[in-house]
């Protein structure tokens, strides 16, 4: 059984929103690239939306990370070694925060270029060069969506350091939330109905993957003896909500008409047509909330 005598790093709301938006930024860029590579001409409008939202989200991520620092004006110390007599770049491949700082910088450049390209290219399919650029950007995007989980694991905190699943879980949920978000955009136009259906199908697969990883997460914590920390007090209720939010895309995937209709009827009462997306996205937010806060409140 794992024993922990560590103190909490006080990573709270800024970090929660960073982890949440980094997931959507990375997931949107990846799905936009996949729509470019595998989609039809009609899908390109939504691919463009993916590239258009990835850049502002990446910028907000950088701001959130900066304001969370105790010394925000020293954010550049993540990139430059200021130790007297040393200097040069500050890079530690074994520190996910160090690695992530560099990748986030690089990813922001990729999202900015793709943002400009999406602004300019309103209709036509992207050239081969642009697609290659998008594929490289997607590798960075997948890293951004997942490394935040590894940041938590590379510590000695209870829960976080007791499982290998966090990077994987954050990635699967980021893709699920991003698919829901893009399907929401697709909903507003009749010509993108097909795109919406395919995104919802993808969302179902991602949600299944996320569900499997949540099970693995709980099993690894049970093995380490810290499951009770993750499920203490209100966190068990949050986890029930998270699992509930996954049922919608999974029910859609398995064409379980009864369960799906019941779920969608319930969500319709919430009002906006995008309630499906709202619920899925709320689920990925709550999952990060439970993971970040439960470990620090033990």
């Amino acid at each position: 059984m794992a024993e922990h005598f560590v103190q909490a790093p006080q990573w709270h709301w800024y970090i929660l929103f960073y982890f949440f938006l980094a997931g959507l930024a990375g997931g949107s860029y990846t799905l936009a690239t996949m729509l470019r590579l595998f989609g039809a001409d009609r899908d390109q409008a939504i691919a463009r939306m993916g590239f258009l939202i990835a850049f502002p989200l990446a910028v907000i991520c950088g701001i959130l990370l900066t304001v969370d620092l105790g010394q925000p004006f020293r954010f550049w110390h993540m990139l430059v070694n200021t130790t007297p007599g040393e200097g040069g770049p500050s890079f530690k491949y074994w520190s996910p925060i160090s690695l992530g700082s560099w990748v986030l910088l690089l990813y922001s450049i990729f999202t900015f270029v793709s943002f400009l390209e999406a602004l300019r290219n309103r209709t036509s399919r992207a050239s081969a060069g642009v697609r290659v650029f998008n594929v490289i950007g997607s590798i960075l995007a997948l890293f951004i969506a997942s490394y935040t989980g590894v940041v938590l694991s590379v510590s000695n905190q209870p829960v976080w350091s007791d499982t290998w699943t966090l990077g994987a879980l954050f990635l699967a949920s980021a893709l699920s939330g991003s698919a829901a978000l893009l399907s929401w955009f697709a909903e507003s136009r009749s010509e993108t109905n097909g795109t919406k259906r395919r995104l919802l199908k993808a969302d179902g697969y991602f949600a299944l993957l996320e569900l499997a990883l949540i099970v693995m997460f709980f099993l690894t914590l049970a093995g380490a003896g810290t499951l009770s920390v993750a499920l203490a007090g209100p966190w068990s209720i949050i986890w029930i909500l998270v699992l509930g939010s996954l049922m919608l895309p999974i029910a859609a995937l398995f064409r379980n008409r009864k369960a799906y209709d019941r779920a969608t009827d319930a969500t319709m009462r919430l009002g906006p047509a995008g309630s499906f997306a709202l619920i899925v996205i709320a689920g990925i937010f709550l999952m990060r909330l439970a993971i970040i806060f439960s470990a620090q409140s033990s």
């Binding site: 103190q7 105790g70 010394q71 110390h77 074994w94 859609a252």
Partner: protein, 274 residues
């Protein structure tokens, strides 16, 4: 590089006077936190940005009436940053603000720290705290300024029972071995050294003689004395496999002729167009 120096804390002769806490605060100009009135003689609570020494009072009142041999009411331990040879804080610090000094101690450069707080979550001893006023993290420096001037750290200098001893690590280890042998001869079978050898984080610059198991004092045993980077491989590998599965599934779902069957289309349209 100077010969490695360190601190040996013999908890068997700590009397809980907290002179070390006071001397540390005086020398390092730490104003301290508001006193906490707890159900204990411990009114400091924990190591943090203001408390770089913390005298733990581990209350062990015997359940039965006191008889010869079971009257041990407290274990006391003057806790401190361990200045680990393999330091978790130094490992995760992304800014290189945490460095190893010429004395082999672990030191936080205040001018370089940007307050990301990764080190707090990594330190297995809870020895680092965040100071809201400076926006940076703080911990014991082993009185780095005193060491540079050939002076003994304040806590060791002031300790009235010599529970805290300062010196060359090699000399301190010899003293610790001799003291442990004495205690064991006297029948203290649970007495043990913590961090004297390399089994705990490669050896500790501030090591201890304990009168019970490490976990009784809130210290991880050798199975649990693990570095944060152990989780890099599993974390990234898990993410990589997930990415591979997700990309494969996504490609199937998003390919241009991969539309759902009409029956599903109808179901989904009902739900989202509504």
């Amino acid at each position: 590089m100077a010969e490695p120096v360190g601190l040996f804390t013999d908890t068997s002769i700590c009397i809980g006077c907290k002179a070390c806490e006071v001397a540390c605060k005086e020398w390092n100009q730490l104003p301290g936190n508001e006193p906490q009135f707890r159900d204990s003689f411990d009114n400091t609570g924990q190591l943090d940005a203001q408390n770089w020494r913390h005298v733990k009072f581990i209350e062990r009142m015997p359940e039965e009436n006191m008889t010869v041999g079971n009257g041990q009411a407290w274990l006391m331990m003057s806790d401190i940053c361990k200045h680990c040879t393999h330091a978790s804080c130094l490992e995760v610090c992304p800014t290189h603000a945490i460095v190893r000094t010429e004395f082999d101690s672990v030191f936080i450069q205040q001018e370089a720290c940007n307050g990301c707080r990764a080190c707090i979550g990594a330190c297995p001893y809870g020895a680092i705290g965040f100071n809201e006023d400076t926006g940076t993290v703080h911990k014991c420096t082993m009185c780095y300024d005193r060491l540079q001037n050939n002076m003994t750290p304040a806590c060791a200098k002031v300790c009235p029972t010599q529970s805290i001893q300062f010196g060359k690590l090699a000399d301190l280890k010899d003293k610790a071995d001799a003291r442990l042998a004495t205690l064991q001869r006297q029948g203290n079978s649970k007495a043990q050294l913590y961090g004297r050898d390399d089994k705990i984080y490669g050896g500790l610059g501030a090591f201890f003689l304990l009168m019970d198991k490490p976990e009784v004092y809130g210290l991880p045993d050798k199975q649990n004395a693990v570095l944060p980077r152990r989780n890099n491989a599993g974390g990234y590998l898990g993410a990589l496999l997930t990415a591979a599965v997700a990309l494969f599934a996504g490609a199937i779902a998003l390919r241009r002729n991969g539309s759902p069957a009409p029956e599903e289309t109808q179901t989904v349209d009902r739900s989202t167009d509504g």
